[in-house]
C-alpha cells in the first residue's frame, strides 16, 4: 500500500477546485501522515453501513443491467474471458509479422499494432522528419504493401486486430480493409478496433497532422462509415490511457476521457446520426495504475456515468449504446528502470485490478519497457501474468466481487462525483473541443504530473527501488531489444519503389478525387480507400490533409 500513505499538503489534486500552484505544492512542510488514494481522495480506516447510500441498489443495477456499474454481462467472465491482447510493433513489417505469429502461438487472443513515430505523425519513411525514427517505437507502415506484409498469414476474419493509430487513422483503416479484400473478405467481416481518438492526442499523446476540428471531423467520418459498413468494428477507442500516462490522476483520466466521449457523440448527433446507430461500436481504453481499489472504482464509475449520459443526455434506447466496453493496459509510467524485475509484480497487481474492474480486453506491460521496446522473453512473462490471473487465481469465476463493499461503493461514488464536476466545468466552457483548444485539460495534467514528481522527490510517495529500498545492483543486466539501424534505408527504398512502379494515372485520379472531397463536407473514407488501393502512400495522403486543413502547432506552455 505504498501509494496509500502520503504526507502531501492538504489539497485534493483530483478536484478541480484545488489550488494548483506549484508554490503550494513545494513550500509546505510535511504535514501529518495522510491516507489517500493516488488521486488524492481521502480515505477512512473503516467504512461502514453509514457510508452506504440509500439508493445504492438503483445505482448499482444487476450485472448486465443498467447502469452497468457491476458488469456489462450477467455472468461476467464466465460467458467469455477478457481478450488477451498484447501491443506489438517494431522494425519492419516483416519483423512485426514474425512477432504477431509468435504471440498467436503463445496464446494471445487478439492482435494489437504499435506503429512507429513517422507513421503515427503521417510521414513516409523517406521524409526528412522521419530521420532516426523509422521502426524505433513501432512498426513502419508507409504503403499498402507494408500493410500486406504486416498481416501475412493471419486470417483477418478469425483474429481481431487493434490498431493504435490516430492522426492518419483513416489511412490505416483503409489499408486494413484493402488487405482484407485481398484475403477475400468484406469489410463487414473484419473485427477489431482503430483508436482514432484525436481529442486525447491534443490533450496528451501529442500526435497530430491538422488542427483539432478537422481531425475530429475525420474521426466522425470513420464512426459514420463503420456504423454503416463494419458491424464488428470498433470505430474509435476513446482513450484515457495516454491522458493518465501524461500525468493525470485517475479522476482526471476518468473525467477527460468521458468528456471526449461526450464530444464525439455530440459531433455525430450534429451530423444527423441516430445515437443508437453508432454508439454500440464506441469503445474505451483505460490505464491501470498502482492504486488497487481506486483503479477498480474507476472502471465501475466509468460504466455508470457513461450509461447515464447515453440514456439521459443523448436519449439512447438501445442498451448496447449505454454499455461502456473497454480495453485496459497496465501503467507504463509506473514501471521503473531501477530493479526492473520488480515491474513483473507491479504488472500482476495492475492486471488483477483491471480484471476485478471488469475490463473486456487487457494488455500487460513487459518488465523492460522503461529501457526499450520489449524482448520476446519479457513479452512472454507479461502474457503469462494474464494467463495466471485468468486460470489460476479464480478471480474470473464471480462477477464484480467487490460489489456492495462499503469501501468500494464509497470510492466509486467519489470517483464519479469528481469526474462529473470536471465534465460540468467542460460543458460550461462550451464543450471538450473548446476546452482542448484553450489548453485546459493539458494544463491540469501538466500540473498533476509536476505535483506527483515533487511528492516522489520529497519522499512523500514511495516508489520501491527508486526512492526507497534502492540498491547498488540497479543495473541488473536484462536483455534489451535492438532495432536494426539499416531498417530506415530499406524502408525508404521500399516506399520509393512503390511510387516508381504504381499506375501513375490511377494514383493521380484517386488523389484528385480525395483532394476535392477534403474541400467538401463529404465522408472521406471511400475516397481514402480508393487512394490506398491506387497505392497512394500514408505520407502523400497526410500531405493532402496538411494542404487542405493546415498544420497544427501546439502553444508551448508548461
Amino acid at each position: 500500500m505504498a501509494n496509500g500513505r502520503t504526507q502531501s499538503p492538504p489539497e485534493t489534486p483530483g478536484s478541480p477546485g484545488a489550488a494548483h500552484t506549484t508554490a503550494g505544492a513545494k513550500g509546505a512542510a510535511p504535514a501529518e501522515p495522510r491516507f489517500e488514494t493516488m488521486s488524492g481522495i481521502p480515505l477512512k480506516a473503516v467504512y461502514t453501513e453509514a457510508d452506504r447510500r440509500p439508493d445504492l441498489q438503483e445505482r448499482l443495477g444487476e450485472p448486465g443491467a443498467f447502469p452497468y456499474t457491476r458488469a456489462l454481462f450477467p455472468e461476467g467472465y464466465r460467458t467469455r474471458l477478457w481478450t488477451m491482447r498484447q501491443f506489438a510493433g517494431f522494425g519492419s513489417a516483416e519483423d512485426t509479422n514474425q512477432r504477431f505469429h509468435y504471440l498467436l502461438g503463445q496464446g494471445v487472443t487478439g492482435l494489437s499494432t504499435a506503429f512507429d513515430m513517422p507513421t503515427l505523425m503521417g510521414y513516409d519513411a523517406d521524409h526528412p522528419m522521419s530521420l532516426g525514427e523509422v521502426g524505433r517505437e513501432g512498426v513502419a507502415v508507409s504503403t499498402l504493401e507494408d500493410m500486406e506484409t504486416l498481416f501475412r498469414g493471419i486470417p483477418l476474419d478469425k483474429v481481431t486486430t487493434s490498431m493504435t493509430i490516430n492522426a492518419p487513422a483513416i489511412v490505416l483503416l483503409a489499408m486494413y480493409i484493402a488487405v482484407g479484400e485481398k484475403q477475400g473478405l468484406k469489410a463487414s467481416q473484419l473485427g477489431g478496433t482503430i483508436q482514432a481518438d484525436m481529442l486525447k492526442e491534443f490533450i496528451a499523446q501529442k500526435e497530430w497532422i491538422c488542427p483539432p476540428r478537422p481531425h475530429v471531423k475525420i474521426c466522425v467520418d470513420m464512426i459514420e462509415w463503420c456504423a454503416a459498413n463494419m458491424p464488428k468494428w470498433n470505430s474509435i477507442s476513446i482513450s484515457g490511457y495516454h491522458i493518465r500516462e501524461a500525468g493525470a490522476t485517475a479522476a482526471q483520466e476518468l473525467a477527460f476521457t468521458l468528456a471526449d466521449g461526450i464530444g464525439y457523440v455530440e459531433e455525430c448527433v450534429k451530423r444527423g446520426m441516430d445515437v443508437d446507430d453508432f454508439a454500440p461500436r464506441l469503445s474505451f481504453f483505460w490505464d491501470v495504475h498502482n492504486d488497487f481499489f481506486e483503479e477498480i472504482a474507476k472502471f465501475r464509475a466509468a460504466r455508470r456515468i457513461w450509461a447515464t449520459v447515453m440514456r439521459d443526455r443523448f436519449g439512447a434506447k438501445n442498451p448496447r449504446s449505454c454499455m461502456l466496453r473497454t480495453h485496459a493496459q497496465t501503467a507504463g509510467v509506473s514501471l521503473t528502470a531501477q530493479q526492473p524485475l520488480n515491474n513483473v509484480a507491479r504488472v500482476a497487481l495492475q492486471a488483477l485490478a483491471a480484471v476485478l474492474g471488469g475490463t473486456q480486453s487487457l494488455h500487460t506491460n513487459s518488465m523492460d519497457e522503461t529501457l526499450a521496446l520489449p524482448t520476446e522473453e519479457a513479452v512472454t512473462v507479461a502474457l503469462r501474468t494474464q494467463q495466471i490471473v485468468a486460470y489460476e487465481t479464480g478471480v474470473a469465476n464471480t462477477v464484480d466481487p467487490f460489489g456492495g463493499s462499503y469501501f468500494m461503493e464509497a470510492l466509486t461514488d467519489t470517483m464519479e462525483a469528481e469526474a462529473l464536476t470536471y465534465i460540468k466545468r467542460i460543458d460550461e466552457m462550451g464543450g471538450i473541443i473548446t476546452a482542448v483548444e484553450r489548453g485546459y485539460p493539458q494544463k491540469e495534467i501538466a500540473d498533476s504530473a509536476y505535483r506527483f514528481q515533487l511528492q516522489v522527490e520529497r519522499g512523500e510517495r514511495i516508489v520501491v527501488g527508486v526512492n526507497k529500498f534502492a540498491s547498488d545492483e540497479d543495473d541488473l543486466p536484462i536483455p534489451v531489444l535492438k532495432i536494426d539501424p539499416d531498417i530506415e534505408r530499406r524502408q525508404s527504398e521500399r516506399v520509393q519503389s512503390v511510387k516508381a512502379t504504381r499506375d501513375a494515372a490511377r494514383h493521380a485520379a484517386a488523389m484528385k478525387a480525395l483532394r476535392d472531397a477534403c474541400m467538401s463536407d463529404k465522408n472521406l473514407v471511400p475516397f481514402v480507400l480508393d487512394a490506398v488501393k491506387a497505392h497512394a502512400t500514408l505520407g502523400e495522403i497526410s500531405d493532402l490533409f496538411r494542404e487542405a486543413y493546415g498544420v497544427y502547432r501546439e502553444p508551448a506552455v508548461f
Partner: protein, 141 residues
C-alpha cells in the same frame, strides 16, 4: 548579481512524450533558471536556432522515441557550426547506458533516464554553468 542560468528545453523529432520535458522545465523554473521550452516536434535546426536567439547556457533535449543517436549528434554538430562551443548539451529520455557513453565520447554532457530526480538535474546544470563561467572548463565561445 550573476546572470540567471538560461536553458532551452527542447523536444526533438516526432516524439510527443512531453511529460518529462515539462516536469524538468517546471523544476528548473522553480530553481530560478530562465527556461525557454520549444514545444513539440522541433528539428535539430529549430532547437539550435532557439539556443542562439535566446543566448542560453544550456540546451536540454528530451527524447523518448529512440531517435537519440540521430538527434543528439545532429544538435551537437549544429551547435559547433553556430559557435555554441561553451553551451552545455544535456538531456534525457529512454537512452541505454551504452548509448549515453557513446554520446559522452562525442562531447554531450550527462544524460538522465527514468527515476532521476529533478534535483539531480538542477544540481548538475548549476555546477556545470558555475564551472564554465569561472573558466574552469576551458571552452571557447
Amino acid at each position: 548579481m550573476a546572470r540567471k542560468i538560461r536553458v532551452v528545453v527542447g523536444k526533438g523529432g516526432l516524439d510527443g512524450h512531453d511529460r518529462g520535458a515539462k516536469v524538468v522545465a517546471s523544476a528548473m523554473r522553480d530553481a530560478g533558471f530562465e527556461v525557454i521550452y520549444t514545444g513539440l516536434h522541433q528539428t535539430p535546426e529549430m532547437v539550435v536556432q532557439a539556443a542562439v536567439q535566446e543566448d542560453v547556457d544550456v540546451v536540454a533535449l528530451s527524447i523518448l522515441s529512440g531517435a537519440h543517436m540521430t538527434l543528439f549528434p545532429r544538435v551537437w554538430q549544429l551547435m559547433r557550426d553556430r559557435g555554441l562551443n561553451d553551451v552545455l548539451l544535456t538531456g534525457g529520455g529512454i537512452i541505454s547506458k551504452e548509448d549515453m557513453e557513446a554520446l559522452r565520447k562525442l562531447g554531450v554532457g550527462d544524460l538522465f533516464g527514468p527515476g532521476t530526480t529533478t534535483g539531480a538535474i538542477v544540481d548538475y546544470v548549476r555546477a556545470w554553468v558555475a564551472a564554465n563561467r569561472a573558466g574552469k572548463l576551458g571552452l571557447a565561445s
